[in-house]
Symmetry: C2
Subunit: 346 residues, 2 copies
């Protein structure tokens, strides 16, 4: 393995769109969403350690989750945990983690990865990441991985590509936020649009240079031993850097990728029964029910009749029943639940 | 109070159509279905003791529920509990209870009542029962209470009346099992059809004479100190006696009656929110949801969107989601659950 290769796994999100399965004290990256016995964070860490030195894998997370991360990844040492004192989205934490890595190895090439992705083809994935790291090591470019879309998904962002730079690497023409269905359908018919995976690859100097150029207010707050997250702006890496920088490239990939950002995406990613139902962890009896996703605590039983396209999720003291593609509603549910009942169910 | 007045409360049913809220070890008569803090059995007992001497109220139940009944009704003595060793439906247990009462008071007039009814007008109810008991004390007739139907309910049995005998008492022309909607609609337009409440009134000698004439195989098995339920036929009082006897009369009543035999009937009986949802015992947030009935354990939360006409019932280790008027399906669910998972969820 190349000792200049580093990884930042982002594991600080609240994962509220998976409520009630994810809870405030246990976001989705710390859950065994597939019922395989392994949390998404564990799966992500194991995926990268196949081709990146284990001691070069850093995990960013909120201070509330530090103990959870340490329990799930006991082989990781204290120094590999990048702790955010406040939730300030991805830009500040990536800036800080990059600063930490640069001090250790000013020649580092870094892959930055969310902790909630499903990757089906591990070999292809490893090859693609290493190829991207070679490219980023030799070019002052910011690389994002683009996935060939297989369906007109409205839950993902898209990237429109421009002319090719070199083998599989294209200049980004524009980023498109989650599109309406009519646009998504046009996108997949063209060969110009790719899903934005949210996995980034760059040399540590390239990303820090970009921060100094475009988000200079963040730099003094995180380029120190004790970062000040509180006074950082709350902003994503996509919005602050990727959509503005001139040297952003997309690497076209195909490794069986899914972003497990929503119940609907989890449904798409998982194997279905003959009636297109996805059942996680549960004992179920389903009658005249299609296209549902059902998630129950281990050992619980769900009996369901006449539901089509629904999510039925139970956890602890809470049950949620709604259309599974009603992605935006869940944030509202969680907010309303907190307004009405306080912290009891969130 | 008249010391010849007796009551038999039938509390031995398994109440499986309320699964999963009712469980094998806790049928619906032992549940606080309305969330008032009182079980249906307690409500029934308290209703009758307003006008029948408390020591004359007998409770029939299966041996498995003896302790439950004793706990709910601590003021009842051992002698008032009529225990069935085996489930054999209502005919054997009524025959045995009548035999027990006859030995105590051969001049008894008895009202026989299920333990799962909702009665809204207690005063009217008491007057109607006492009127029926006066009639039955003076006439060798079997009286069943008929309720003027307020809607074309397909979940109830109906009684067609013949000519009037005397004030409010009509000869029964025929009993009709749960009708199809088209018939129920015709029934309520006519003035000849009434809901069969399943509440009966008769002199103890009248009912025992009827048993000797029509179900003579039951008599020797129950007219003894230690009845033999095991060898009794499994048969209802309706089928064995009421539908066959020539001296059956219906007393027309109006006291705000509902049979809580099914989720749908419970829905009909309970107050609704502005979107016609019935919520029992639960914290809920409902969005774009109408005509549902939601029953959760105390302190649990249900968040529901885009459901119309459903039952969402959670209890212990089980959740049921189905159309609330899908009455027949629930028996099938319980059978299937037992086939697939054994006793774990039943």
């Amino acid at each position: 393995m190349n000792h200049n290769h580093y990884c930042i796994i982002m594991a600080g999100g609240m994962g509220r769109r998976f409520w009630p399965y994810s809870r405030k004290n246990q976001p989705k990256q710390f859950l065994d969403l597939f019922g395989t016995g392994e949390t998404l964070l564990r799966q992500t860490f194991d995926r990268y350690k196949q081709f990146i030195p284990q001691e070069n894998i850093f995990i960013t997370t909120h201070k509330n989750y530090k103990e959870l991360v340490a329990n799930i990844l006991p082989e990781v040492n204290e120094q590999q945990l990048i702790i955010e004192e406040e939730w300030r989205n991805t830009a500040p934490s990536i800036a800080y983690a990059s600063h930490v890595i640069q001090k250790i190895n000013p020649n580092a090439t870094i892959v930055v990865a969310p902790s909630d992705h499903l990757i089906l083809k591990q070999d292809e994935f490893g090859k693609a990441i290493l190829k991207g790291m070679d490219f980023a090591a030799q070019n002052d470019k910011l690389v994002t991985l683009g996935i060939k879309p297989s369906r007109p998904e409205t839950g993902y962002g898209y990237i429109q590509i421009d002319e090719e730079q070199t083998d599989d690497f294209y200049k980004v023409k524009t980023f498109i936020e989650k599109p309406a269905l009519e646009f998504a359908e046009i996108f997949i018919k063209s060969n110009e649009f790719f899903w934005n995976s949210g996995i980034f690859i760059w040399h540590v100097n390239s990303i820090l240079k970009a921060f100094h150029q475009m988000m200079s207010d963040i730099c003094p707050r995180v380029e120190c031993d004790v970062p000040d997250f509180t006074s950082c702006p709350n902003i994503s890496i996509d919005y602050s850097i990727m959509e503005k920088a001139k040297n952003v490239y997309v690497q076209l990939c195909d490794f069986g990728w899914a972003d497990l950002g929503t119940w609907n995406s989890l449904y798409d990613a998982l194997p279905k029964d003959q009636n297109h139902n996805v059942v996680i962890n549960s004992n179920t009896l389903l009658y005249n029910s299609q296209n549902n996703i059902i998630v129950m605590p281990e050992g619980k039983l769900a009996v369901i009749k006449d539901l089509d396209g629904f999510l039925v999720a139970a956890k602890d003291n809470t049950i949620l029943v709604c259309k599974k593609d009603d992605q935006d509603a869940i944030r509202k549910f969680v907010n309303d639940v907190e307004m009405k009942f306080g912290e009891k169910y969130s």
